[in-house]
Every structure is written in C-alpha cells, then in structure tokens.
Subunit: 120 residues, 2 copies
DNA sequence: CGGAATCCTATTTGATACTG
DNA sequence: CAGTATCAAATAGGATTCCG
C-alpha cells in the first residue's frame, strides 16, 4: 500500500512502524490488484504481449491492465521487454524473482478452492 | 542469485479467467481487508475481546474493526462467542477452519519479509 | 463494553477517447 | 499495436455519534 494511512487529515499521524513493515501486508499489496492474479497466471504459462493479455482477459480495460502491469514491474515481478525483431514486439514476462511467487500462489489457490467448495 | 525458479506453479489444468470461481481471488478476498491479517495474528495468539483487539491495534476504528470481524465471521474464519459468565463477555476466536489459514499466512509473511528486505 | 448508523474521504476500477 | 488521458463509478476505510 502506498504511503501512510491516508484517511486521517486532522490527527497527528503516528504510524506504527510494525504495521508498515508487516510482511503479510507487503505480500498482499504486491498481488492484491484485481487482475494481478490473472496476469501472473498467464505469464507463468508463457511470455505475453500486451494484446495477448488483453485477449486472455477480455474484461480488463486497457487502462487497468496498464496500471497493474506497471505496478508489477515496479515491484520486480514482471519485466517488460522489447524484442530485437522487426517489427519489435513488447513482451511481458515474469522476472526470476517473479517466479518465487509461484509457491505462494499455489497455496492461495489451494486454500481458496477449498474455501469455494465449502461455501458451495 | 538463485538458480532456476524453484517454485514453478503447477499449472491448474483449466482456468477460465472470466470465471469468478478463481481460488486465488477467493482466498485473497477472505484475507484482504486492511486489518484482517492483524486480527488473525492476534486471534492466533489468544482469544480476544473486542476491546482487546482495539487495544492491540490502536489505529483501527471501531467501525472498521466491526466490519472486518463480521466479514471474517461470515467467511467462517472467526467465531463470536458470548460467555455465560456474569457479566457476559464477547470473545472472538478462530474457528477450526480459521486455523487452516495458518500455513498460508506463514507463506505470505515469509515472501513478504523477503520482499521488504529486497526493496530495502 | 460492544457495537450500529451515518457521513465523508481516498483509493481502485472501469469506460471512453485519443496518440505515436 | 501498445499504450496514455480523462472522467465517472464503485468500494474501502475512517470519524463521529448514538444505543442497549
């Protein structure tokens, strides 16, 4: 999450350092965006061009896709690469660090699927 | 650097990204709230009364705490129990199912702490 | 004490249009 | 193709107040 707790205009801001340094929060912030799990899923299957990602997720708007990709880039999960071919192509792929999310995503999916089953 | 990606996600066979039945999304929705990780952390240490949770998280408002607790209740993670004592006390505790989140939370924390270290 | 109701702000997401 | 700009809508979270 960006910066400080934002909704406290009047009170003097005391930010609990433990809170900002919380690993769980940090991890959630990285993967939390609405489309990020899907982006990660697609990119774990193959490198993708922007338009391929759009095609794989027809419901995401261009703007939303851009934003989530930039955030994933900023966080070192995804790399944007322009190929040397002609015509050059923009491709997105997981960074090496991005691949370390794999196990975590597996757990999330595992727990989440069980949750969905229980909830019916 | 690390060698080859060690945690390569096992590709779930067929995932329709359009479907809202995505396990990852479901899991994230359960734990995503701003205070939920902290609530889960506190409750994994001990049963807590409402006011104890407030004391443990001085920055959360009563309204926000209520809301997150109700959501966790709805999702079967947390149980609200009123004791038979006099005066009666309201206590919150993890359900049995709630405890199954433990491993997932550990992974999140682990990855997140590494992320924070890298980011400096 | 343990909340619910109300109101308000900030962040997130989406829709649409436009550009190199 | 690969985005950006702009605006509108939805949502999350906080502050304050009030109640049993």
């Amino acid at each position: 999450m960006k910066g400080q707790p934002s909704g406290r205009p009047k009170a003097p801001e005391v930010v609990d350092p433990l809170q900002e340094q919380c690993g769980v929060r940090a991890a959630l912030d990285v993967i939390r965006g609405r489309w990020k799990p899907f982006i990660l899923y697609e990119l774990h299957l193959r490198r993708c061009r922007y338009s391929e990602l759009q095609a794989a997720m027809p419901q995401v708007s261009a703007q939303a896709l851009s934003k989530q990709l930039r955030e994933l880039e900023r966080d070192g999960i995804v790399a944007r690469r322009v190929t040397e071919d002609s015509p050059p192509r923009t491709v997105y792929e997981l960074t090496e660090y991005g691949w370390t999310l794999g196990e975590l995503m597996d757990r999330l999916e595992e727990w989440g699927n069980d949750f969905l089953k229980r909830r019916g």
